[in-house]
C-alpha cells in the first residue's frame, strides 16, 4: 500500500463494462498529468480483476484497483506540499467577490490572522485575513483584478515549509480541483443519505437527490406520489414525495431548501433502490429550466469529470461509503470512530470532530481528515437563516423565538459529574428500596445530648444517619463494596461521602473511618468539611470517593428520591425529609378504641447495584439501618 497523508476515494463504478471505462479513464487523466500511454497500457479488461495499478504523477499518486468487476480509484495527494486558500465568504450574503489586491507576494510568509489580500464584495472592500495556518504563499492562482470569483474557489496555495514553495509552483488546476470540493458541504442525513452536489460549467449548481432509506431495513421502495412539481420551492423539512416501503407509505422530507428542478423517477415507479437518484434540486429558481433535458446518465457521466464524490447508482459496497465528503451529519448518539492521533489533533486544533467524514478503514476518521477539515463557515448558515427569514415571515418568527436561550458552558465539575453519572446508569443495574424510619427516639436523644454538649458539638439528624449507616455497613458488609470484573471487593474500612449543601452547589466530601468514630467526632468533621466547602476550599483528598455515599435532600422538603450510584461504589442512601403524622398507637385506650399517636417519620431510599447487592441483602441493610435509627442507643454497642 501507498504511504501517504491523504487518501480520497473519488469514484467507484460497479459493474465493469466497457462503457464505463472511458469516463473512468478521462477522470484519471483529468486528475493528473498521466500520459495517455499509461492508461492505454493498462488495457482495462476483466483480466484485471483483483489487481491494483499505481500511477504516479507530479503531484498525485493515483491508484486504480479492479475488484469483483468494480473499479476503485484512489487519489493520494502527496500532501504536506500545498494547501489551497479559497475565496472566503466575508459577508453573510456574499456569493462571489473580486480580488482587488494581493497583499502578499509568492514566497511571502503568512502568519495566522494576517491579511493576505483585499477582496471586493458587493458591499465593500475587505481584508482577507487567513486564519487557518501559518506558512508561505506558494502560488497565486487567481491574479489581482480578477472578478466574480465564487466563494470557495481556490485562489492561492499555501505551504508550511519554505522549501516546498518550488514544488508547489507546478501545482496544476487539476489537483486543485480535487480539494476544491472540500469546503462544499456534503450532508448525509437520514432522510437523504446519499446525494451528490455538483456544479460545473455545463450544469449550474445542483444536488442530485437519491432515494433515502426510510427504515433501517429498506433496500428499495416505490415512488407512489410526487408532492412537489418541477419548479416548486422546497423549504427545509418539507415533504417532496411519498415513498412506499415494504411496510408503509412514508413521507420523504427533504432537509434542505431549494427548487425542484427535475424529476428523474416518475410517479408510480416501484423497485427504486435506495440511493438511486430520484430528482434534482437547485438553489436558484432561474436554474430550474436548465435541467429540463438532464438525464441520470448525464449525472453519472458528468461527475467523474467534475471530480465530485458521487455515490454509484447501483448497489453500494462497503468501499463506496468512504466518499470524499468531509462533512457529515451525525446524530448525537452515533458512535464516532476516530483514530487516537486524529482525536488528539482535533483537540489540539479545537475542532469538533463529530461532523468530520472519515476516510480510513470502516470510515474511521484519520488524522488527515482532521487536517483537511474546514469547519462549516458560520456565514453560510446565516445566509440560509436570512433567506428563510426573508421568504416567510412565519418562519422568521420561529427563528427569532428559537434564539431565546443562553448557552452556559459546562464547568469542569459539571462535565465530570455528567460523565460519571451517565456511566453509572449505563453500567450499573440500579434498583431502589424505600424504608420509613420513625425517628422520635432519635430526636429526643439528640436534644438531650445537645443540651449537655457545653458547646463542644451540636449534633444534627444527619450525623445520626451517618453513624447508623456505618453501623449497618458493618453488619452487612456487602453493601460496602465494589463490583469488579472477577470479584466483589469488600472494604473493611468505612469511608462515607456526605452531601453538604453550599452556595456553590451540593458537595459530597469524604468522612473517613466513620465506624471507628463517635457522633461528636463525625459531627465536627462534617461541620469542618461544610465550612471548607462553603469557602470552596476542599482539597482533592477531601473529595475522594469513599466506600458509600449518603445524599440528603431533606432540607429542601423532598419526601423521598432515588439517587444515582456513585461509581465504583455499590450503593447510595437517599435521605428525604421528616414528616410528622398520626400512627396507630401501641396501647389500647380505656374504651377499647385504639389510640393514635404523633410520629416523626423519615423516608430513606437505598439505590443498589444489583450485581453486588441482591434484594434481600439490600433489604437486610435497610432493616439494620432502620433498627439503629429507631433505637439509637444501639449505636453505643
Amino acid at each position: 500500500m501507498l504511504k501517504s497523508n491523504s487518501l480520497r476515494v473519488i469514484k467507484q463504478i460497479t459493474s465493469l463494462e466497457s462503457k464505463n471505462v472511458t469516463p473512468l479513464i478521462n477522470s484519471v487523466r483529468s486528475f493528473s498529468t498521466i500520459s495517455k500511454q499509461t492508461i492505454k497500457n493498462s488495457n482495462v479488461s476483466s483480466k484485471l480483476n483483483n489487481t491494483t495499478m499505481t500511477i504516479k504523477s507530479s503531484n498525485n499518486i493515483n491508484q486504480i484497483s479492479f475488484t469483483n468487476n468494480s473499479v476503485l480509484l484512489r487519489f493520494y495527494s502527496t500532501k504536506s506540499k500545498a494547501k489551497e486558500i479559497t475565496m472566503p465568504a466575508l459577508s453573510p450574503t456574499m456569493e462571489s467577490g473580486n480580488i482587488a489586491k494581493w497583499k502578499k507576494k509568492e514566497g511571502d510568509k503568512i502568519e495566522v490572522g494576517q491579511a493576505i489580500a483585499e477582496i471586493e464584495t458587493d458591499k465593500a472592500t475587505m481584508d482577507f485575513e487567513y486564519e487557518e495556518q501559518s506558512g508561505y504563499l506558494a502560488k497565486i492562482l487567481v491574479p489581482e483584478g480578477s472578478k466574480n470569483i465564487t466563494v470557495n474557489t481556490p485562489i492561492a496555495l499555501i505551504v508550511s515549509k519554505k522549501e516546498d514553495i518550488e514544488s508547489a509552483k507546478d501545482y496544476k488546476g487539476a489537483s486543485s480541483t480535487t480539494t476544491q470540493e472540500t469546503p462544499k458541504v456534503q450532508t448525509a442525513t437520514k432522510e437523504a443519505p446519499k446525494k451528490a452536489a455538483a456544479s460545473t460549467k455545463s450544469w449550474p449548481k445542483h444536488t442530485v437527490v437519491g432515494l433515502p432509506a426510510l427504515s433501517p431495513t429498506m433496500e428499495s421502495g416505490g415512488l407512489s406520489k410526487w408532492v412537489k412539481k418541477v419548479g416548486d420551492k422546497i423549504s427545509a423539512g418539507e415533504v417532496i414525495a411519498q415513498v412506499e416501503t415494504d411496510k408503509a407509505t412514508i413521507d420523504f422530507e427533504y432537509q434542505e431548501s431549494g427548487f425542484l428542478a427535475k424529476i428523474l423517477v416518475s410517479e408510480g415507479t416501484s423497485g427504486v433502490s435506495v440511493d438511486q437518484p430520484v430528482c434534482i434540486v437547485v438553489p436558484k429558481k432561474e436554474d430550474v429550466d436548465k435541467f429540463a433535458d438532464f438525464t441520470i446518465e448525464d449525472g453519472i457521466q458528468e461527475e467523474p469529470a467534475q471530480e465530485r464524490p458521487v455515490e454509484s447508482t447501483s448497489t453500494s459496497t462497503s468501499t463506496s461509503s468512504s466518499s470524499s465528503s468531509q462533512h457529515v451529519e451525525r446524530s448525537s448518539g452515533d458512535r464516532i470512530f476516530i483514530s487516537p492521533a486524529a482525536k488528539f489533533t482535533a483537540k489540539e486544533k479545537d475542532i469538533d470532530y463529530s461532523n468530520i467524514a472519515g476516510t480510513g478503514p470502516n470510515n474511521r476518521i484519520i488524522k488527515a481528515d482532521v487536517l483537511n477539515y474546514t469547519p462549516q463557515p458560520k456565514q453560510q448558515q446565516q445566509v440560509q437563516t436570512q433567506q428563510v427569514a426573508r421568504e416567510s415571515p412565519k418562519q422568521q418568527q420561529q427563528v427569532s423565538t428559537s434564539q431565546n436561550y443562553i448557552d452556559v458552558p459546562h464547568s469542569n465539575i459539571r462535565r465530570v459529574t455528567a460523565k460519571r453519572l451517565t456511566e453509572s446508569k449505563q453500567t450499573i443495574p440500579h434498583y431502589y428500596l424505600t424504608m420509613e424510619c420513625r425517628v422520635d427516639k432519635l430526636l429526643k436523644m439528640r436534644t438531650e445530648l445537645n443540651s449537655k454538649s457545653e458547646n463542644k458539638f451540636k449534633l444534627s439528624i444527619n450525623d445520626f444517619i451517618i453513624k447508623a449507616a456505618s453501623a449497618a455497613l458493618k453488619d452487612v458488609p456487602t453493601v460496602n463494596s465494589t463490583w469488579m470484573a472477577d470479584a466483589v471487593r469488600k472494604y473493611h474500612n468505612i469511608d462515607i461521602n456526605v452531601a453538604v449543601n453550599t452556595e456553590w452547589g451540593l458537595f459530597t466530601p469524604i468522612v473517613r473511618d466513620v465506624d471507628k468514630r463517635g457522633l461528636a467526632s463525625i459531627s465536627n468533621s462534617v461541620k469542618q468539611l461544610a465550612e471548607k466547602a462553603n469557602a470552596n476550599k476542599l482539597t482533592p483528598q477531601e473529595f475522594e470517593t469513599g466506600t458509600f455515599t449518603i445524599s440528603n435532600l431533606g432540607m429542601f422538603g423532598i419526601k423521598s428520591f432515588s439517587a444515582v450510584i456513585n461509581p465504583p461504589q455499590a450503593a447510595i442512601l437517599a435521605v428525604g425529609t421528616t414528616e410528622t403524622r398520626y400512627v396507630p398507637g401501641t396501647a389500647i385506650t380505656a374504651d377499647g378504641q385504639p389510640n393514635f399517636e404523633q410520629a416523626t417519620i423519615l423516608n430513606v431510599t437505598l439505590s443498589c447495584d444489583h450485581r453486588v447487592i441482591d434484594g434481600a441483602i439490600g433489604a437486610e441493610w435497610l432493616q439494620k439501618f432502620k433498627d439503629y435509627m429507631e433505637n439509637p442507643l444501639k449505636l453505643l454497642l
Partner: protein, 347 residues
C-alpha cells in the same frame, strides 16, 4: 446531586512514596510489604520505579510475599455470601492523610460464583434492553390478615395470597401475561400463567416457578412455594424449575421495606415488588365513582371516622413495550381487587 470530582479511587499518595507508582509496582510493594522504597534504585524514565526494579530488589533481598491470611481482618462478615468465598485476600495499601492517621485501606476480594455472574449479566442486560415503567398501588390487606387467622392451623402466608392474586390477575388481563419478542418486535402473549418468585439463597438470588399458577388453590401454592424455596436454598432445583416463567414476584416485606422498584427478570415483561404490611390510620377510601354521593357517605359517622387498616404497597416494574400505562394500571387494579377481597380468590 453527587458532585464528586473524579479522583483516582483511593489514591495512595504518601509522603514516603514517590509521586506516582505503576499499579504493578504498587501491588508488588504491598504484597511483599516493602516499606523502604527509597532503597530501590529506579531505572524507568523520569526515575520511575519499574516492576523489574522491585523484582530484582526482591531477589537480592530474598523477600517472601506476606501470607495474605495473616492479614485477614478479624471482622467476620455477617453476610452469607462470605461463607462461599473460597479464596479471600486482604491487601493493605498505605494511605496517609491527616484524618486517617496511619490507618490503612483494607479490603477483601470475593471471586464471583456462577450465580453472581449470571445475575450481573442478566440484570445489566435487562436494564439496557427494557424500558422500565414503575407503578405503585396501596392495597388494603386487613381482610387477608384476618382470613389467615381463620385458616389456621393451615399455614398460609401473605406471600401465598399475593402469588394467587397475581396469577388470577394475569389470567384476567392476558395482555399483562406477555413478553416482548425481540426478533419480531411484537408483543407475544404467553399461553400459560407461570409465576416465578424470588428466593434469596447463600449463593445469590434465584427465581423458582410455580407452573400454571392460576389453576392452583391457595393450599397448593403454599405447599409448592415452600418446597421450591427449600430446594432452591439446598441448590436442588432442576433447570425447568427456574428457567422460564411468565411473570415474577419479589417480596421484601419481611425486612420491613415500605416499597421498592425491582429489576425485570428478562425476558419476562413484569415483576411485582411487594412491600411490607403496615398499620395506618385511614379515612374510608372513596373512589371517583363515589363522588356523587360523597356528602351522604361522609354524613354517616362510620365513614367519617378514621380507621386503622393494614396496607401494603406493591410496585409493578413493567416492560413499557408490553405494559402500556393502561395495561399496567388495569393489571394492578385487578390485583388490588383480589388481594383486598381474598374470599374472591378462594373460588
Amino acid at each position: 446531586m453527587n458532585q464528586i470530582i473524579g479522583k483516582r479511587f483511593f489514591s495512595s499518595s504518601s509522603s514516603s512514596l514517590p509521586e506516582y507508582l505503576f499499579p504493578s509496582v504498587r501491588r508488588l510493594l504491598s504484597d511483599y510489604n516493602i516499606v523502604n522504597v527509597s532503597e530501590i534504585k529506579p531505572t524507568g524514565p523520569q526515575s520511575r520505579l519499574l516492576k523489574g526494579d522491585i523484582l530484582s530488589y526482591i531477589q537480592s533481598k530474598n523477600l517472601k510475599p506476606i501470607d495474605s491470611r495473616t492479614l485477614q481482618s478479624s471482622t467476620t462478615a455477617s453476610s452469607t455470601t462470605t461463607a462461599t468465598a473460597t479464596t479471600s485476600k486482604v491487601f493493605q495499601v498505605d494511605k496517609e492523610n491527616e484524618k486517617r492517621a496511619g490507618s490503612t485501606v483494607k479490603f477483601e476480594d470475593i471471586p464471583h460464583n456462577n450465580i453472581r455472574k449470571v445475575i450481573a449479566t442478566k440484570l445489566t442486560q435487562s436494564k439496557h434492553i427494557i424500558p422500565h415503567l414503575y407503578m405503585t398501588v396501596e392495597c388494603d390487606i386487613s381482610k387477608v390478615l384476618s382470613l389467615r387467622q381463620k385458616l389456621l392451623p393451615l399455614k398460609v402466608s401473605v406471600n401465598d395470597f399475593v402469588l394467587r392474586a397475581v396469577a388470577l390477575a394475569l389470567k384476567d388481563c392476558p395482555e399483562a401475561n406477555a413478553k416482548w419478542n425481540e426478533t419480531t418486535q411484537e408483543i407475544q402473549l404467553n399461553p400459560t400463567v407461570d409465576v416465578s418468585f424470588a428466593v434469596s439463597t447463600d449463593r445469590g438470588l434465584i427465581t423458582p416457578i410455580i407452573k400454571n399458577t392460576n389453576t392452583k388453590q391457595l393450599g397448593d401454592i403454599s405447599k409448592e412455594s415452600k418446597e421450591l424455596a427449600i430446594a432452591a436454598r439446598d441448590s436442588k432445583l432442576k433447570p425447568e424449575q427456574f428457567i422460564g416463567g411468565t411473570f415474577s414476584v419479589s417480596n421484601l416485606g419481611m425486612f420491613g421495606i415500605t416499597h421498592f422498584n425491582a429489576i425485570i427478570n428478562y425476558p419476562q415483561a413484569g415483576i411485582l415488588a411487594i412491600g411490607t404490611g403496615r398499620r395506618v390510620i385511614k379515612n374510608q377510601q372513596f373512589t371517583t365513582a363515589d363522588l356523587d354521593k360523597l356528602d351522604s357517605l361522609l354524613a354517616t359517622s362510620e365513614a367519617a371516622k378514621p380507621q386503622i387498616i393494614d396496607i401494603m404497597d406493591v410496585t409493578l416494574s413493567g416492560d413499557n413495550r408490553v405494559f402500556t400505562d393502561e395495561i399496567a394500571a388495569k393489571f394492578l387494579d385487578t390485583f388490588k381487587k383480589y388481594i383486598s377481597n381474598p374470599e374472591s380468590m378462594l373460588l
